[in-house]
C-alpha cells in the first residue's frame, strides 16, 4: 500500500513538472502575442515619427527687406485700398536681388524668386497693415522658404540629399545663406493654425481640426441622446418579443455595416432629398451619427444591464415610478459606461473617411470653417489628400497630420479609461 501511495505522489510530481512547463509555455504564447502587437505599433510609430517630425519645423530665410513706396506702388500707408493692391512680391524680389546680385537671365530670375514662398508677400502686407510707419523703412525678417528649399534643407546630412528640384545656381545661393547662418529651421506654428494649401510650406491642419470638431459636435449631439433613449427603452420598457429580437439583430448588424454605405445613404437621403449642403460639417455630423449610433446603443445597453436588479427593486419597493427608477437610479449608475461608449464611438467617427467621400467632404478647402454649414474637411481626409499629392514636402506633412490625429485619438481613449476608473462602481 505504501508503495502504491508513493507511486501516486511520484506520478503527480512527474506530471507537475510537465504541467508547470505547459503553463510557462502558455504564458509565453501570451507574451509573444502581446510583444508582436507592441512591435507592430512601435514600427508604425517610428515610421510615422521618423517621417513626420519635420512637419513641425519649417525652413526660413533671413532677408533685409525695404518697403520702398515706389516698388510697392503705395503712396500712403493709411489707405487700405492701396495697401491691398501693393506689389509685395516685388519687394521680396528686390530683397533677393540685393542679397545675391540682380540676375540677368530670365530663367535665373525665376529661380531666384523661387527661393522664397509666395506667402512672404502676404506676410509683408500684414506687417505693413499693422504698422504703417514701416513704409519707406527697412527691416530684417525671417521669411518662409519655398518647399523645394525646405525639402532640400531637411534632407541634408541624411545620406540621400534631395537635390532633384535644386539647380546648381540654387544650391550655390543656399550654400551662401548657410555660411552666414541666414537659413534655419524654426517652429512651424502655421501648421496648426492655417487651412489647407497647395504649397506644402503653407499648408496646415487648422481647417481640418476645426472641421473635425464641428462635425463631431453634431455627431455627439445626435448620437448620444438618441442612442441613450433607444437603449433605455429597449432595456427597461420594451417587452421581450419577436419585434425586440428583430430590432436587436438589426442594431448588431448595423454596427458591422461598412461605413461607406452610410455615406451613400447620406448622399441619397440628406443631399438629394432633404437638400442639405454638400461638404458641410452638419451633413458629415449627421452621417457619422448614423455610423456611431449602433455602437452607442450597444454600449449603453451593456451599461444599463450591468446595474444590479436589486437597485431597481429597492426603488420600486419604496414606491418610485418606472420613470423615476430609470432617471433617478439606473441612469446615474450606468452613465460612466454610457459615456465611455460614446467616447469610443466618437473616436471611431474621428477616424472615418469613407462615408465622407460620398458627401463631398473629401475636398480642397482653404478657408477655415466658421459654422456648421461652411464647407469643411476633417483630419483623416486631410491626411488622405496630402498622401496623394505629388509634391515631396507633403510626405512629412502627411505624417505630421497622422501624429496629430493619433494624439487626439489617444486623448479620447485615455479620457474613456479615466472616466471608467473614476466613476465606475463595482458591485
Amino acid at each position: 500500500m505504501t508503495e502504491r501511495k508513493a507511486s501516486t505522489a511520484e506520478i503527480i510530481r512527474a506530471s507537475l513538472k510537465r504541467r508547470y512547463r505547459a503553463e510557462r509555455r502558455f504564458r509565453l504564447y501570451g507574451i509573444a502575442a502581446v510583444s508582436f502587437g507592441l512591435l507592430a505599433v512601435l514600427l508604425l510609430l517610428t515610421d510615422i515619427i521618423g517621417k513626420g517630425h519635420g512637419a513641425f519645423r519649417q525652413t526660413y530665410v533671413q532677408l533685409r527687406v525695404h518697403y520702398d513706396p515706389d516698388v510697392l506702388g503705395i503712396a500712403s500707408a493709411t489707405d487700405p485700398a492701396a495697401l491691398a493692391l501693393g506689389d509685395y512680391e516685388a519687394v521680396v524680389r528686390q530683397a533677393l536681388h540685393q542679397r545675391f546680385g540682380a540676375p540677368v537671365e530670365r530663367a535665373e530670375r525665376r529661380e531666384l524668386s523661387a527661393l522664397i514662398s509666395n506667402a512672404a508677400g502676404y506676410e509683408l502686407q500684414d506687417r505693413l497693415r499693422a504698422n504703417p510707419a514701416l513704409l519707406g523703412a527697412s527691416e530684417t525678417l525671417w521669411l518662409l522658404a519655398d518647399d523645394d528649399i525646405d525639402a532640400w534643407f531637411k534632407s541634408r546630412g541624411g545620406g540621400a540629399e534631395f537635390t532633384s528640384r535644386m539647380s546648381e545656381r540654387k544650391l550655390a545661393w543656399v550654400d551662401s545663406l548657410l555660411e552666414k547662418g541666414e537659413i534655419a529651421l524654426r517652429f512651424n506654428l502655421d501648421f496648426f493654425t492655417r487651412g489647407d494649401s497647395r504649397e506644402p510650406e503653407q499648408a496646415g491642419i487648422g481647417g481640418a481640426v476645426k472641421g473635425s470638431l464641428l462635425t463631431l459636435a453634431i455627431t455627439l449631439l445626435l448620437s448620444f441622446p438618441i442612442g441613450v433613449a433607444a437603449a433605455i427603452y429597449l432595456e427597461e420598457f420594451a417587452p421581450q418579443n419577436r419585434w425586440t429580437d428583430f430590432i436587436e439583430v438589426n442594431i448588431n448588424n448595423l454596427a458591422a455595416v461598412p461605413s461607406v454605405i452610410f455615406g451613400l445613404l447620406g448622399l441619397a437621403v440628406f443631399i438629394n432629398f432633404f437638400h442639405m449642403p454638400r461638404s458641410a460639417p452638419v451633413l458629415g455630423g449627421v452621417v457619422l451619427a448614423l455610423v456611431t449610433l449602433p455602437t452607442v446603443i450597444i454600449s449603453s445597453r451593456a451599461a444599463i444591464k450591468s446595474v444590479p436588479p436589486s437597485i431597481r427593486e429597492a426603488a420600486l419597493g419604496v414606491g418610485a415610478s418606472r420613470m423615476q427608477v430609470v432617471l433617478g437610479h439606473v441612469l446615474p449608475l450606468a452613465m460612466p459606461g454610457m459615456l465611455t461608449g460614446a467616447i469610443l464611438g466618437m473616436a471611431r467617427a474621428l477616424g472615418e473617411t469613407a462615408p465622407l467621400l460620398m458627401i463631398g467632404m473629401v475636398a480642397f478647402i482653404v478657408d477655415i470653417p466658421h459654422g456648421f454649414t461652411d464647407p469643411a474637411t476633417v483630419l483623416p481626409v486631410q491626411i488622405f489628400l496630402w498622401a496623394d499629392s505629388p509634391e515631396r514636402a507633403f510626405v512629412e506633412k502627411t505624417s505630421g497630420a497622422i501624429m496629430v490625429l493619433l494624439a487626439f485619438l489617444t486623448l479620447m481613449n485615455a479620457l474613456a479609461v479615466v472616466l471608467r476608473k473614476r466613476l465606475e462602481r463595482r458591485w
Binding site: 491691398a84 530670365r106 525665376r110 523661387a114 502676404y122 540621400a160 534631395f162 537635390t163 532633384s164 528640384r165 494649401s197 497647395r198 504649397e199 453634431i218 449631439l221 445626435l222 448620444f224 441622446p225 438618441i226 441613450v228 433613449a229 440628406f270 443631399i271 432633404f274 437638400h275 442639405m276 449642403p277 454638400r278 461638404s279 452638419v282 451633413l283 455630423g285 449627421v286 432617471l327 433617478g328 441612469l331 446615474p332 452613465m335 463631398g360 473629401v362 475636398a363 480642397f364 478647402i365 482653404v366 478657408d367 456648421f372 454649414t373 464647407p375 489628400l385 498622401a387 496623394d388 499629392s389 505629388p390 509634391e391 515631396r392 510626405v395
Partner: protein
C-alpha cells in the same frame, strides 16, 4: 444631482431636436465656387483656386476630387446652387454625359482645354534606362497578342522583356498601374496600347469593320500578374518602384518630376518623357486636360468669371506660369489664346457632334 442630470439630458435632447430641425431649413445660396472632377486636374485647379481666393480676399473655391466620371455625373445633375459649377476632366466629355447634361437642363456648357498631361512608364533609378516602343508595350501588356503567323490571337506568352524584344533586358515583365476607374488608365490604354496595336496591319484594318472586337484586342490588359493594379495613389506606385528595381509603373508626369531622385521615365518610341517633349507633342503618351463650366451659374455664384480669368491668364497657364511649376504642360500660345477668348466670351459647346 438628480435634477441637474435630468435637465442636462433634456438639454441634450433639445439640442438634438434643434440640430434636426435646423437641417431642414438651409438657405440654398452659395458664395463659393464648387468644383468636382478628375484627380489629375485637382492639383492644378486647387492651385488656381487658392491664388484666386488670396488675390480677391474672398472665399476660396472648393475643389472635390471625385474622378472625371463621378464629377461629370454631379456636374450634369442639374442647374442650381445645389449642383457644382465647374467639372474638371482628364478627358473630353463623353456623348452620353453631354446628353445627360442636356436632359437635366444643363444646356450651356463652356469647354476649356487647360493643358496637357504626360503619362510615363517609369522604373527605379537603380539600373539602366529603358528604351521602349509602343509595340513593345502592347506586346508586353495586352491580354491576347497576335500569333507569329496569320491574323489570329494567342494568350500573351511573354514572360520577360527579352521575350518581347531581344534588345530589351532579361527581366520579368511587372508593371504597376492604376485601376480601370482611373482616367490615367484610360489614357494609357488609348494612347500607348492602341498605338502599339496599330503596328499590326490586320488589327488596324479591323477597326473599320468591327470596332468592338478591335477595342477588345487593343484595350484589354493582362490579368496573369504581369500588370498589377496598384490603386489610384501614384505616390504608392513610386514607393513600390523604389523598392523593386525590376518593376515599371504607370503614372502622371508630375509624379515623375517630383521623384526624379527615385525613379526615371522610359523613353517611348525614342522620346524621353521630359517637359519639353510633352509640350511639343513629340512624346506619344500625352493627353489634353479640360474644365467644363456651367454658363447658367455665371453671375449667380459670385467669382466664376474671375476664376476663369485667373486660370486662363499667362501667369497661371503660360510657359513660365505657376501651373507649369506644378507640372501642367502648357498648350502652344495660339491654342491658349483661343481658349482664353472662349472663356472670356463664354462660348458654349455647340452640340454632341464629335464627342465619343
Amino acid at each position: 444631482m438628480k435634477a441637474t442630470l435630468r435637465s442636462s439630458i433634456c438639454g441634450l435632447g433639445v439640442g438634438a431636436a434643434l440640430a434636426l430641425v435646423g437641417t431642414g431649413a438651409f438657405a440654398q445660396s452659395r458664395d463659393t465656387i464648387s468644383m468636382v472632377g478628375s484627380s489629375t486636374v485637382y492639383p492644378f485647379a486647387t492651385v488656381v483656386a487658392e491664388r484666386f481666393g488670396k488675390a480677391n480676399n474672398g472665399a476660396t473655391p472648393k475643389v472635390e476630387s471625385t474622378g472625371t466620371g463621378g464629377g461629370m455625373k454631379l456636374f450634369c445633375g442639374g442647374v442650381g446652387t445645389g449642383h457644382p459649377d465647374i467639372a474638371n476632366a482628364s478627358r473630353q466629355i463623353k456623348k452620353a454625359e453631354f446628353d445627360a447634361c442636356q436632359a437635366n437642363g444643363v444646356k450651356d456648357i463652356i469647354e476649356i482645354q487647360i493643358g496637357f498631361d504626360g503619362i510615363v512608364l517609369a522604373k527605379s533609378i537603380k539600373g539602366a534606362p529603358l528604351q521602349l516602343t509602343t509595340k513593345d508595350i502592347y506586346l508586353a501588356l495586352a491580354k491576347g497578342i497576335p500569333a507569329k503567323y496569320g491574323p489570329k490571337l494567342v494568350p500573351n506568352p511573354n514572360k520577360t522583356w527579352k521575350d518581347v524584344n531581344p534588345s530589351l533586358p532579361d527581366t520579368k515583365i511587372e508593371v504597376l498601374g492604376p485601376p480601370p476607374t482611373s482616367g490615367t488608365r484610360d489614357a494609357f490604354v488609348e494612347l500607348a496600347m492602341e498605338s502599339g496595336c496599330n503596328s499590326f496591319e490586320w488589327i488596324k484594318d479591323l477597326k473599320k469593320v468591327n470596332e468592338v472586337e478591335y477595342a477588345n484586342i487593343c484595350h484589354t490588359l493582362r490579368e496573369d500578374g504581369a500588370f498589377v493594379e496598384a490603386g489610384e495613389n501614384d505616390n504608392l506606385i513610386v514607393q513600390k518602384l523604389a523598392a523593386n528595381p525590376n518593376a515599371l509603373g504607370v503614372f502622371g508626369f508630375s509624379y515623375l518630376e517630383q521623384n526624379s531622385d527615385k525613379v526615371q521615365g522610359a523613353a517611348i518610341n525614342g522620346v524621353a518623357p521630359t517637359f519639353d517633349n510633352i509640350a511639343n507633342k513629340s512624346y506619344p503618351v500625352s493627353r489634353p486636360l479640360f474644365i467644363y463650366v456651367k454658363k447658367a451659374h455665371i453671375g449667380v455664384v459670385p467669382g466664376i468669371e474671375g476664376y476663369l480669368a485667373e486660370f486662363t491668364s499667362e501667369k497661371a497657364w503660360g510657359e513660365d506660369g505657376y501651373l507649369a511649376e506644378k507640372g501642367l504642360i502648357p498648350m502652344p500660345a495660339p491654342l491658349r489664346a483661343t481658349m482664353a477668348a472662349k472663356a472670356a466670351n463664354k462660348v458654349t459647346m455647340g452640340g454632341s457632334a464629335g464627342l465619343k
